[in-house]
Symmetry: C2
Subunit: 209 residues, 2 copies
DNA sequence: GTCTATATTGTGATAGAC
DNA sequence: GTCTATCACAATATAGAC
């Protein structure tokens, strides 16, 4: 039911913006209150503490990041479709939320214990438990392709790490890349657009014997 | 001359550990003082403020990260040697400082203005200015290879982004990868060792027609 | 150079009126 | 549900003795 201008929703929206911008330690309840257009006491009325509010934001962010790769890599598509699916899905998603990767890396770097909070919120199980069958299935699929001479040997782990690295890192390192290449916001978007077109070919070419 | 147990050096070492672990906002002067085995007042005696101390740590970290790629990609080696050089250098360096990428991404994400501090400390010039001739030269080198039929077309920017993504991202996302793959510290090291061997082949295969 | 106070401000959280 | 006022403590920074 909750209208988009519900006080609780407005607070959560403001919290998301501030936590992602400042990080959990750098965020101030006062700034969140201002951005939500309410006073600081209301934040505690709805979320009890800064800690709980930050957990709500983190869980939501993690949920937007992790299920996709599991769903796509665990599907019954060809390797080529999976590569395209990961690249397209992540580049599109991250283009809409370009600060998500940096925020998640930052949070997990400074609060590694939060990793246990991952996925559990969305599927009720541990991340590695959810991923295990996906990796096993992918290893088998790759083995079949290798035997048919259509693919070079690579473990599902390394395969997945390469896909995510190539798709997500440019967003996580966006400030560095922009400074290094001298790109403004629009230039960076174009850089990503090129990537979206070329990355699947690049990866498939690396996988083909 | 400065002995390794100089008070100033001990403070800087402690600051490096704490800032990298907690981030600039999360770090506490008290924790740094404890880790250095001195009291809080001495931190201000040597570095005047938390801000300045954090700048010292950040500059040092940035300097350990960025010059390598410029040096290697700007050299006169073959593309293959450059790929090998980047992968080996970064994987070795990051293995020794596995928290560096996460720290730098985190800092630059929450304090993007710090980007201007980059490189200037080491070469006295802007990052993009230092990189421009390197990218131009690399573009020419790639064009030559393409004309000779030895390489697929790719821009120096995308080429460099791919190299760094594949080499650095796994360290930046270390907490996620370890949770996802169920790896302990040793398991992660082995994962990186495999990467060091396979990544150059993977990349060269992607670049070859 | 190094220490022990201490000043001063910032910040999460709560009490209580409306 | 929402506000103002305020508490309690954390954290940076400084003064001044040794």
């Amino acid at each position: 039911m909750a209208k988009d201008s519900d006080t609780e929703t407005r607070i959560l929206n403001a919290a998301r913006a501030v936590f992602i911008r400042r990080g959990t330690s750098g965020a101030r309840m006062q700034e969140i209150a201002e951005e939500a257009g309410v006073n600081q006491a209301l934040l505690h009325y709805y979320f009890r503490s800064k800690e709980r509010l930050s957990e709500a934001v983190f869980s939501e962010a993690a949920t937007r990041m992790f299920p996709m790769v599991i769903q796509i890599l665990g599907s019954d598509q060809t390797i080529e479709k999976k590569v395209e699916g990961i690249v397209t899905t992540y580049l599109d998603n991250m283009s809409r939320s370009p600060f998500l990767p940096g925020y998640l890396i930052s949070e997990l770097h400074h609060h590694p214990e939060r990793i246990h909070q991952l996925i559990r919120g969305v599927a009720g199980i541990e991340l590695s438990t959810a991923l295990k069958p996906v990796l096993d299935k992918l290893d088998k699929q790759i083995a079949t392709e290798v035997r048919a001479g259509r693919m070079r040997r690579i473990s599902a782990q390394q395969f997945m790490a390469n896909l995510i690295s190539l798709s997500v890192f440019p967003f996580a390192a966006q400030p560095m890349l922009r400074a290094a290449f001298g790109l403004d916001e629009d230039g960076f978007s174009k850089f990503i657009a090129v990537r979206k077109k070329e990355l699947p070919q690049f990866i498939m070419s690396a996988l083909t014997p």
